[in-house]
Amino acid sequence: MLTLPGHLEDYSISNINEDMSFLEMMDVLNEQLIRKGDEPVAFDHDCREGICGACSMYISGRAHGPQKLSTTCQLYMRNFKDGETITIEPFRAAAFPVIRDLSVDRSAFDRIIAAGGYIGVSTGQAQDANALPVEKHLADMAMDAAACIGCGACVAACPNSAAMLFVSAKISQLALLPQGEPERNNRAIAMVNQMDEEGFGNCTNIGACEAECPKEIKLTNIARLNR
């Protein structure tokens, strides 16, 4: 396989409708390139409805582009001016090696999740839904943390390439609930160790992660993790 050093390439695209999503624009670009006999641009995508966390572009200096609270797939071309030059880069972090073009390997996140292990539950018949009371505000916070789709925008936005927002959300979604309480401390330590091993940077409370997160994951999760 031929490996070339990374570089920026200029493409001009016409026939872009303002109602197209950013990824549809990329499809149009690739169709044009293939028809011309050029290499299509590799990029990550899957559900295209903002829930899977697969799309990962750094668009004109912002993770997932200029629109707040949206993934790249939910970004539409009406957010750009006609004739505008858009710079697209992969999510860049030492722990996210580039596979090709805009496609990066984020399996470090999977390994962090795997390091979290399991929660102990009794087998047999499922217990009554109300047997374990959970306070409403705690349940809400756990749900908010669980909204993290693991896209990696927090890492891409962070000048330290820290994965603290992701890891803290994944830890918080369980730590706030009674299920998994016995494994709580070990889980947090194992996940943080794995995070360090993967080569993510340290948190210096800059907050770019929260600002760019498409799912509104809050910095308070990081505070909870540190406790």
Binding site: M1, I34, R35, G37, D38, E39, P40, A42, S103
Partner: protein, 155 residues
């Protein structure tokens, strides 16, 4: 295992070799969608379905022959990935058409134009319920050799 590996390799190579010039994988995907929409939608006729079947035949031959990709099979190649999937969709679409052909008299109330009347949808409970099982007999043999094996089930 070795035989399966070789078969997979051959299929990948087939897709790759033949992935040359003029039409992209997306063109085939769109053509497939159009055939399904036109001939295997809510309203279907035996003529339309037969036509669709013939269209599929040429489409699946052409995706293997004409699809275009510039990369090789031993590296990250999203276009090849897509070509494999669309080839599968075409196969599935063809099966749906054949299944619908078999079920012309028994498809859901609104669908078979031959039994539609201006009044209330005409019920045909004797032929209404159909349970069909299709056997996969290899890529090339799939559609022609699929044998219909169904029995009418009364609810």
């Amino acid at each position: 295992v070795e035989a399966e590996k070789n078969a997979a390799k051959e299929r990948t190579q087939k897709l790759l070799n033949l992935l040359k010039v003029s039409r992209t994988v997306d063109d085939f995907h769109k053509a497939l969608g159009k055939i399904m929409w036109e001939y295997c939608g809510m309203a279907r006729t035996a003529e339309g379905l037969t036509k669709a079947r013939n269209l599929f035949r040429s489409l699946s031959e052409r995706i293997l022959e004409r699809c275009k990709s510039t990369r090789h099979c031993n590296e990250f190649n999203p276009e090849l990935d897509k070509a494999g999937r669309v080839a599968d969709f075409i196969e599935l679409g063809e099966l749906m058409v054949i299944d619908a052909l078999n079920a012309t008299k028994v498809v859901v109330v609104t669908s078979a134009l031959s039994t539609r009347t201006m009044e209330k949808p005409k019920r045909d409970d004797d032929n209404y319920t159909l349970c069909a099982a299709w056997e996969f007999k290899g890529v090339d043999a799939t559609i022609p050799s699929c044998t219909r094996n169904h029995s009418i089930m009364r609810l």
